[in-house]
């Protein structure tokens, strides 16, 4: 009997080992697949995007990299004739718009998060959390349509009130508004998690020292959650930089710039890529992949900078 049991155990252990190994291989495989997609995407975009710079583009001449990165008009000369493309002003526009959107979305998002995590009664907090999650799940084209149908006329009339004539509301301001609405749920949801994970002891310590709840919330809880709030900003900026559909509906796709005035039309890297993509051919098509490379580099640099800043300010320290 004893022997049988031992044998059984042995078999069991062997079997467990096999299962363990299989799962491990399986996990490794799926990791490899998802990781390889990144490589495939980067290689594909880079491969297509580099063509305008190294080939002579069917006689149009190769695109000058320096001019491409600094020029203040999208295309100098006629399409299909000229190769003088440029995205200099668009890079500036894109960063400017992302920065402004964050400027609006961060305070609102963080304060909302604070309200949900610390102030609201439990039932209300649960409800609000669901609402935020729903907002985050709305596809960008819906935001674009809302921007198109509601925000554009609103901006048009607002500008008219100021005596400024806008192009039907397609402005920097409209783009910033749409984007800040879009990144608000991301910012709120992540900040809320960060605020909730601040340990109760720190908060109680502050209260015990005689600080009011509001003082504690702003000076202790928020500064302890800094790191998480920064993460929400990073993801928010990522969405703002990468959004194409909604932006191209409200930006006006300016072909020169940069545009800093709130009531000027503008263009972002993504909206420029999208414009005419389905209709055009040759260099005018390939160049959009080059813009894609620029976009990826811009996002990498922005995220790198924000991550660096996060490490600088991110430690939980309660003064």
């Amino acid at each position: 009997m004893e022997k049988v049991n031992q044998l059984h155990n042995k078999n069991n252990i062997k079997w467990k080992n096999i299962v363990d190994k299989t799962t491990k291989t399986f996990f490794l495989l799926s990791t490899l697949i998802s990781a390889s997609f990144i490589i495939v995407i980067v290689v594909f975009i880079a491969q297509k995007g580099i063509i305008p710079f190294i080939s002579d583009n069917d006689g149009l001449g190769s695109v000058n990299v320096f001019k491409f990165l600094t020029q203040r008009v999208w295309l100098d000369g006629p399409t299909f004739v000229s190769s003088l493309y440029g995205v200099g002003y668009i890079i500036i526009n894109t960063l400017y718009i992302a920065f402004l959107s964050l400027l609006i979305a961060m305070p609102i998002g963080v304060l909302t998060a604070l309200f949900i995590a610390k102030i609201a009664p439990k039932n209300l907090a649960g409800l609000l959390r669901t609402v935020i999650e729903l907002l985050a799940a709305i596809p960008s084209i819906i935001y674009g349509l809302v921007g198109f149908a509601v925000i554009l006329p609103f901006i048009y009339n607002l500008a008219k009130g100021f005596g400024v004539q806008t192009a039907g509301g397609t402005t920097v301001l409209a783009t910033v508004l749409v984007l800040s609405i879009m990144i608000l749920p991301t910012v709120t949801a992540l900040s809320e998690v960060a605020i909730r994970s601040v340990s109760k002891e720190i908060e109680l310590g502050s209260l015990a020292l005689g600080a009011t709840q509001t003082q504690t919330n702003f000076k202790v809880v928020l500064s302890s959650a800094k790191s998480g709030i920064f993460t929400s900003a990073i993801l928010g900026v990522g969405r703002a930089l990468g959004e194409a559909t909604a932006v191209s509906l409200v930006a006006g796709n300016a072909r020169s710039g940069p545009s800093f005035g709130f009531f000027d039309t503008t263009a972002t890297l993504t909206s420029t890529m999208l414009q005419g993509l389905k209709e055009t051919i040759g260099l005018d098509y390939d160049i959009r992949f080059s813009v894609g490379i620029v976009l990826m580099v811009v996002i990498l640099i922005t995220n790198g900078t924000l991550n660096f800043m996060k490490r600088k300010v991110g430690n939980v320290d309660v003064e």
Binding site: I119, F154, Q165, T170
Partner: protein, 309 residues
């Protein structure tokens, strides 16, 4: 905290009220600047419009346009004109609805009747040309080509053309009425390749037509290679008709030139591509000329006053 919330709520309410309040009707101020809207340089409507107002250099070149123009697609321009009282744009006639004002061109109202009776000027013909009737590799190819041309003039063909935004010529018969005359379509034509080419701006129309027609005619294989209007004649009856790029059917989105006259019964028109300049309903302008449109798009006219004077 309650105070902050209350303030935030107040701001929100004020904003939404402002949004509603702004839409009130006011007198249209003709001293305002003209806001120009255009399609992207890759758009066929843009090249049709620019050549129609004699501003050909703007077909593919943004830099000759007035500063501050806005690029949108067909629907984008249409809905912008519902908001922007001082904007002007152009769309294909098929998209025109009563949310905007379609401007008369050279005194002629933009509607389908005026396009078909050839009085409305801002349009271009969509023509076809086929190979000379004695110049086919075999009878099957010839018969299918002729059947396709006949199909273009049926109401089934007209429906497809309308769906793609162009204006077909008047047609009374359906394909079923005339299919008896084209016995080739009863046979199995799998593997027979018919080549289509010419104008690239009407490629979508041509592809929709062949996609619908191939199953009606023995499932022949349509091959599309659209490279420009000039190649329509050149590759069917012109210098490249026997080359590797030869075509059975060529299209041209402009009238055929004197040098492009083919043999009898090989050329014709299938539709009009009509474009209409549109403005906001409040706009006092009702009629424009080609010259005025060119002056607007090139930036010579910057306010509506200059147009009304």
């Amino acid at each position: 905290m309650k105070k902050i919330l209350f303030m935030a709520l107040t701001v929100l309410i004020t904003l939404s009220l402002a949004a509603c309040g702004g839409t009130s009707e006011e007198d249209w101020d003709s001293s305002s600047n003209i806001q120009v809207y255009t399609r992207d340089t890759s758009s066929g409507t843009r090249s049709g419009f620019m050549s129609g107002i004699d501003f050909g250099e703007a077909e593919a070149d943004d830099s000759v346009l007035v500063d501050g123009f806005v690029i949108k697609d067909n629907t984008g321009i249409l809905s912008s004109m519902a908001t922007d009282e001082f904007g002007i744009g152009y769309i294909s006639l098929a998209s025109l609805d009563n949310t905007v004002k379609g401007l008369s061109f050279e005194g002629v109202e933009p509607n389908i009747a005026n396009v078909i009776n050839n009085t409305y000027g801002l349009k271009r013909p969509i023509n076809y040309v086929i190979r000379d009737l004695d110049d086919y590799a075999n009878d099957t190819e010839k018969e299918i080509t002729l059947a396709f041309i006949a199909f273009l003039e049926t109401s089934d063909g007209a429906d497809i053309i309308t769906n793609k935004g162009a204006v077909p010529l008047t047609s009374t018969e359906t394909w079923d009425d005339i299919s008896d005359q084209y016995s080739v379509c009863d046979a199995d034509n799998t593997g027979v390749i018919i080549k289509f080419g010419g104008s690239d701006s009407i490629q979508k129309i041509a592809e929709a037509l062949t996609a619908d027609f191939a199953p009606r005619c023995g499932n022949f294989t349509p091959e599309h290679d659209h490279t420009g209007s000039s190649d329509g004649y050149k590759r069917t009856q012109g210098s490249e008709k026997d080359g590797d790029n030869y075509k059975h059917v060529g299209f041209a989105s402009r009238p055929f030139k004197n040098t492009e006259v083919g043999t009898v019964g090989t050329q014709g028109q299938l539709a009009w591509d009509a474009i209409v300049a549109i403005v906001h309903l409040n706009n006092e302008v009702d009629n424009v000329t080609a010259e005025e449109l060119k002056k607007i798009y090139s930036g010579e006219y910057t306010t509506w006053n200059e147009l009304l004077d």
